[in-house]
C-alpha cells in the first residue's frame, strides 16, 4: 500500500532538516568531538533537580491549570520584571509551555491566517521557517551579515518587507550566529514594527548568556509591550533542555488565543518541570552565573583560536555558538564540515542548516569542556593546514 499518499501536502513539501542530515552522518562515527550540539554540557544544577524529585515525592503527579501553576507564573513575572524591565500580570499575561518550541508553534497557530507573511532574520534557528509553513504562512527571511556581527538592521527589514506581513520573529542573542542588537538598533526595529503594525515574537532564550554589555528586550521599549510576545525558557541558561519547559508573555488577548490552542493540544506543561522551574527562577541565579562565566571564557578561547587558524570569526556577543567563516579554505561549508569530520573527527554544523544566508559559515558550539575545545581546535588547525598543501 502506498502510505505516503496520505501525508498532508504541506508536510511532504517541508524540507528535511539539515541538522538531521548531518546527525545521521555523525551518529555512525566513533570518537567524534562534537561542536555540533545545541545544548549545555552542564547538567541541571542539583538543587533544581532536587526540587523535581521532591515534587514527585510529594505526589505532584496531576494536571495543572492550562496556563501553568500560578506560583510559577508569579515567579516568572518577578524574574521578567527584574531582568527584562517588563511587567506582566501572572493571571492573564503569562502562559507556561512545553519549551520555547511549543510557544513558537502556539504563537504561529494563534496568529497566522493562511497567506499571512512572517519575517525572521536569517541565519536562524531551524524551526522558525517550518513553524510558519506548517501554519500556512509565508516566511520572509531577512539576511544578517558577519560585517554587522550578525545584528539585524532596520535597513534590511525595510528592504525585505512585503505587504501582508503580520509577524516579525526575533532571536537575540541568535542561534546560530550569537548576534545581538544594541539598544539603538532595537529602537530602529521597534519603529519599523510600529510603522508596519507588526506583532513581534521575541525569542530571548539565550538572553542570560550575554557576555558583553546589557541584554535589552524589545518588549521593554516604548510602545512595544502591547505588540510583543516575549518568549523565554529554562533550557539554555539553567541547563534544562530535557525538562521541556518554557513560557510566553504578552498582551492578554494574544496569550488567551495561544492558551486556547495549548489547552486542546497540550493541556499543560509537565508539573514536575514546572516545580523545578520555580526553583530555577527563585534560587538558580548563582549556578546560572557560574555556567555563564565559564561559557564566557570558552568563547574568548575558541574565537581566538579560529582567527589564529585562519577561519575568520566574529565575536558573538551572546549564546554559546560561534559562526566562523570557512570561505578562506575555498570549500563550501558542507564539504568543509564533512571533510573535517572524516579527517579529524570533529563535528561542526554547516551554516546552510540555518537557512540560505548561512552559506560559507559553520556553527561551532562551545558548550563543551576546555579539554575538548583545546583538542578540537588543534584538530581543526591541522585540517585547515592540510587544505593549503
Amino acid at each position: 500500500m502506498d502510505t505516503k499518499k496520505f501525508i498532508a501536502r504541506h508536510v511532504v513539501d517541508l524540507p528535511k532538516s539539515g541538522i538531521r542530515d548531518f546527525f545521521e552522518i555523525v551518529a555512525k562515527m566513533k570518537d567524534v568531538i562534537s561542536l555540533g550540539i545545541g545544548e549545555p554540557d552542564f547538567r541541571t544544577p542539583w538543587h533544581i533537580r532536587e526540587a523535581g524529585i521532591y515534587a514527585l515525592e510529594k505526589g505532584k503527579t496531576h494536571y495543572t491549570s492550562n496556563l501553568g501553576l500560578i506560583e510559577l507564573r508569579r515567579s516568572i513575572a518577578k524574574y521578567v520584571g527584574k531582568n527584562f524591565s517588563v511587567a506582566y500580570r501572572p493571571e492573564d499575561e503569562i502562559l507556561v509551555t512545553v519549551g520555547v518550541s511549543e510557544a513558537i508553534d502556539l504563537a504561529c497557530r494563534a496568529l497566522i491566517n493562511p497567506g499571512d507573511k512572517v519575517m525572521f532574520h536569517q541565519p536562524c534557528y531551524v524551526s522558525y521557517h517550518p513553524s510558519v509553513t506548517l501554519t500556512h504562512g509565508i516566511g520572509i527571511p531577512v539576511p544578517t551579515y558577519a560585517k554587522d556581527n550578525f545584528a539585524l538592521t532596520a535597513e534590511a527589514l525595510i528592504a525585505a518587507w512585503q505587504p501582508g506581513t503580520k509577524l516579525l520573529m526575533l532571536n537575540l542573542p541568535c542561534n546560530p550566529t550569537g548576534g545581538t542588537c544594541s539598544r539603538e538598533q532595537l529602537q530602529a526595529i521597534a519603529r519599523f514594527a510600529i510603522e508596519k503594525d507588526l506583532i513581534v515574537l521575541s525569542d530571548e532564550i539565550y538572553s542570560e548568556l550575554t557576555f558583553d554589555g546589557e541584554h535589552v528586550s524589545i518588549a521593554s521599549l516604548p510602545g512595544m509591550k502591547e505588540r510583543t510576545i516575549f518568549l523565554h525558557g529554562f533550557s539554555k541558561a539553567f541547563a534544562m533542555t530535557g525538562w521541556r519547559i518554557g513560557f510566553g508573555c504578552g498582551p492578554a488577548d494574544l496569550i488567551e488565543a495561544m492558551m486556547k490552542v495549548h489547552q486542546y493540544s497540550m493541556m499543560c506543561a509537565s508539573i514536575i518541570a514546572q516545580e523545578a522551574a520555580i526553583e530555577a527562577l527563585e534560587r538558580g541565579e548563582d549556578a546560572m552565573k557560574q555556567m555563564r562565566d565559564q561559557y564566557h571564557r570558552r568563547r574568548d578561547f575558541i574565537v581566538r583560536r579560529f582567527n589564529e587558524i585562519g577561519l575568520k570569526c566574529h565575536m558573538p556577543r551572546g549564546s554559546f555558538y560561534t559562526f566562523p567563516d570557512v570561505t578562506s579554505t575555498g570549500m563550501a561549508e558542507k564539504d568543509f564540515a564533512v571533510g573535517l569530520l572524516q579527517a579529524e573527527r570533529v563535528a561542526v554544523v554547516p551554516g546552510k542548516a540555518f537557512g540560505e544566508n548561512g552559506a560559507g559559515f559553520v556553527r561551532a558550539c562551545f558548550a563543551t569542556s576546555y579539554e575538548q575545545l583545546i583538542v578540537a581546535t588543534d584538530r581543526i588547525e591541522r585540517y585547515v593546514a592540510s587544505l593549503k598543501k
Binding site: V26, R297, L373
Partner: protein, 162 residues
C-alpha cells in the same frame, strides 16, 4: 583578577599547558602567574584528589575529624594554640569554627591506633585543650569537589542537535 586564578577557581582540573591555551598565554607565563600567586600566598600548592578505596595497597589510611574545645588566651585568642596544633604532621587541615567547639581538625594516620594515640598523647595533653571528640571517617561520597559515585552519570547528549 589574575586570569590563571580564575581558571583555578573553576576547579583547577586543567594542566598548566591547557590553562595556557585557554587563557591565551604561554606556559611560561602561566607559571609566572602561579609563582606570583604563590608570592602573594593565595596559591599554596597543588594536591591530588584521590579515592583510595579503589587502591588496595593504600586502603590502610585512616582519616578522622576531631572537634577540639580550647581556652582562648589573653592577647592571642585562639591563634597561638591553633597554630601549634596545626604543626603536627598528622593534621591535614585545621579550622577555627563557630558553634559547640572551637577547632575542627582533619587528621590522617596509617591506622586507628596511630590516630588514637595522636589524640590521647599529643593533642589532649596540650595546655589549653579542654576536650576532644574524634569521628573516624567511614566512607567518602564527595572529595574536593569530585563526586565519588558508583555509577557515573554519563553524558548522553545527542551528537548533533539544533
Amino acid at each position: 583578577m589574575n586570569s590563571v586564578l580564575k581558571l583555578l577557581l573553576e576547579g583547577g582540573r586543567l594542566s598548566t599547558a591547557e590553562m595556557a591555551k585557554v587563557a591565551g598565554l604561554t606556559e611560561a607565563e602561566v607559571n609566572q602567574r602561579l609563582e606570583q600567586l604563590k608570592k602573594e600566598k593565595i596559591f599554596l600548592g597543588w594536591r591530588p584528589v584521590l579515592d583510595l578505596s579503589r587502591e588496595a595497597a593504600a586502603a590502610v589510611a585512616v582519616r578522622a575529624l576531631i572537634e577540639v574545645r580550647i581556652t582562648p588566651e589573653r592577647g592571642g585568642g585562639f591563634n597561638r594554640l591553633a597554630e601549634r596544633v596545626s604543626r603536627f604532621d598528622e593534621v591535614e587541615s585545621c579550622y577555627l569554627v563557630s558553634g559547640g567547639y572551637d577547632l575542627l581538625l582533619v587528621v590522617n594516620g596509617s591506622s586507628l591506633q596511630k590516630v588514637a594515640s595522636f589524640v590521647s598523647e599529643k593533642l589532649s595533653t596540650l595546655e589549653g585543650v579542654l576536650s576532644t571528640s574524634t569521628h573516624f571517617m567511614l566512607r567518602s561520597y564527595k572529595e574536593g569537589g569530585y563526586q565519588i559515585e558508583t555509577e557515573v552519570e554519563d553524558n548522553d547528549r545527542l551528537k548533533v542537535s539544533p
